[in-house]
C-alpha cells in the first residue's frame, strides 16, 4: 500500500470511530468551553481590556483540550492492542505517525472552529481574519506534530494521563509563546509583516519536529 493511502486509511478509521463514540471530541470540546467560560468570569471584572488576556486564554484552551484529545487517541489504540495491529501491517511506521497526527489535527481544528466564535462573543473580539487563522493553523500543527509522538511515548507509562502534559508542555513552550505573542500583536493591530520573526520560529519548529517525528516514531512505538 502506498504511503499516503495508508495515511488516509488511518485518518478515516479514526474519524469513523470518533463519529460513533465521540470519546475524543466531547472531552476536548467540553474542556475547551469550560476553560474559556472560567477565564471569562475570572478576568472580566479585573482586566480593563480583554485583548490583554484573550491570547493566553485561547492558547491555554487549545493546549489543554488538545492534550486531552492526544491522550485519548493513543489510549484507544493501546487498550485493545489495536496499535499492535497497525504495527503488524506492512506500512511504513511514518505513515502510522502521519495518520494519527493528521487525525488529531482534524479533531483539534473542529474544536477550534466551534471555540473561536464563542471566544469572539465572550470577549467581544474579531478573530476571523486570515492572519489569525494562519497563526492558529501553524501553532496547532506544531502542537499535533509534537503531541502525537509524546502521546505514543506516554501511553506506555503507568501514569499516562499525567505523564503526557509533563513531557509535552516543556517542549511546546516555543510554539505556545509564539502563538500567544502573535495573537496578541494581531489583536493590537500590528501587521503580520512586522511579526515575521515569530512566524519563522513556528514554521521552523513545525518543520523540525515533523522531520524528527518522521525519523523516530518507529523507535518510539516498538519495544
Amino acid at each position: 500500500m502506498s504511503f499516503w493511502k495508508a495515511v488516509t486509511a488511518i485518518i478515516w478509521k479514526d474519524i469513523r470511530a470518533e463519529l460513533r463514540t465521540k470519546d475524543i471530541f466531547s472531552s476536548m470540546f467540553v474542556f475547551a468551553l469550560l476553560s474559556v467560560i472560567v477565564f471569562n468570569f475570572a478576568f472580566e471584572l479585573r482586566v480593563p481590556d480583554m485583548k490583554m488576556v484573550a491570547p493566553g486564554i485561547i492558547w491555554v484552551a487549545v493546549a489543554f483540550s488538545g492534550t486531552l484529545g492526544l491522550n485519548r487517541a493513543f489510549v484507544i489504540e493501546q487498550d485493545k492492542g489495536s496499535l499492535a495491529g497497525l504495527l503488524l501491517a506492512p506500512v511504513d511506521r511514518a505513515a502510522i505517525y502521519f495518520g494519527k497526527m493528521l487525525g488529531n489535527l482534524v479533531f483539534i481544528f473542529i474544536v477550534e472552529i466551534i471555540l473561536l466564535p464563542l471566544v469572539m462573543i465572550f470577549f467581544n473580539l474579531s478573530l476571523l481574519t486570515w492572519q489569525h487563522l494562519l497563526v492558529l493553523f501553524l501553532g496547532t500543527y506544531g502542537f499535533a506534530a509534537v503531541g502525537t509522538v509524546f502521546s505514543a511515548i506516554a501511553v506506555n507509562t503507568r501514569a499516562r494521563e499525567v505523564m503526557l502534559p509533563i513531557l509535552l508542555f516543556p517542549v511546546l513552550l516555543p510554539v505556545l509563546v509564539a502563538g500567544v505573542k502573535l495573537t496578541g500583536a494581531l489583536l493590537d493591530g500590528e501587521p503580520l509583516s512586522e511579526l515575521l520573526n515569530w512566524i519563522q520560529l513556528i514554521v521552523v519548529y513545525d518543520l523540525g519536529f515533523t522531520v524528527v517525528a518522521y525519523l523516530t516514531f518507529g523507535f518510539v512505538v516498538e519495544e
Binding site: M1, K5, A6, A9, K13, R16, A17, E18, R20, T21, I76, K80, G81, S82, A84, G85, L86, L87, L88, A89, P90, V91, D92, E222, E223
Partner: protein, 269 residues
Amino acid sequence: MSESDTPMIEVRNLIKSFGSKHALRGVSLRVMPGESLVIFGPNGAGKSTLVRILSSLSRPTGGTVRIGGLDLARHADGIRRYLGVVSHAPLLYDSLTAEENLSFFAGLYGMQKPEERIKAMLQRVGLYSRRGDLVRTFSRGMVQRMAIARALLHDPEVLLLDEPDTGLDPQAAEMLHGLLSELSGRTTEGAGGSDPTGAPVERARTIVTVTHSIERGLAIADKVLILANGRVSYEGPARGMTATGFRSLYDLHCALPSQAPRNGARGGR
C-alpha cells in the same frame, strides 16, 4: 517467498532483556517452509516475547531472526506482508463493525477488491451474520474469532499464533483446529485440502503456535519445542509423540525448573 531448502524462520541466539530481567537467553530454532512448530512452556518462559519478536513488534536485545531468508531487523516492512499474527490482544477496533475492521486491514495490506475475501473469512469464522455489528458488542470468543479472521485475511505465508484458542468455546476451538489443520496441509478431505475461503491449498503454511493445550498442540505439530526460563529446553519431532508421553517430558523440563536439563539438551535431535 523463499527457496524450499532454506528455513522459513531461522532464529539464532536470540536474547531479550527488560532491564535486569532476561526473557530470552539465547534461543535458536529453525522452521522449514510448510512446517508447523508448536511451542509449549510454563508462564513466564518467554513464549509470548518470542512471538512478539518474530512478528516484529519487539526488537531483540541480541541475536538474529531471518524470515523467508531475509533479516527481520533490516526488512521488517517487507516481511510483515507475509505474517499473520494472533496474539493475546484482539488487535481490532471495537468502535468499528466486523466488516469495517477487516476492510481497514485489507486496505493496509494492499489487497485489491477484498470484499469476496472478507465475506469468505467472516463466513469461515461464523460471524457473517454479525458483519454489520460493532466489535464492542461481541463476546470474548467472537472477538477471538474476528482476530483469527483478521490474521488470515491477507493469506499469509507464515502464521504466528500466541494461544489462539483463548476464550473460544469448544465449537469455535474445533473450528480453529480444523482451520489450522487445513492450512498446515493436514486435512482429511483429500490431498491439499482447502484454505479458509474454500479454495484449494496450494502449499502448506508455516505455522508457529504457542499453546498450553498439549492434545491440540500435538495434533497440528510437525515439531514441538519446550521453552523454559527463556531457553529451549527440548526440541524434537511430534510424530509418534503421545499426549501422555509428552506430558511426562514437559513435567521433566518445566515442573521442576531446578532439575530441568540446561540449554543444549535438545532431546529430540
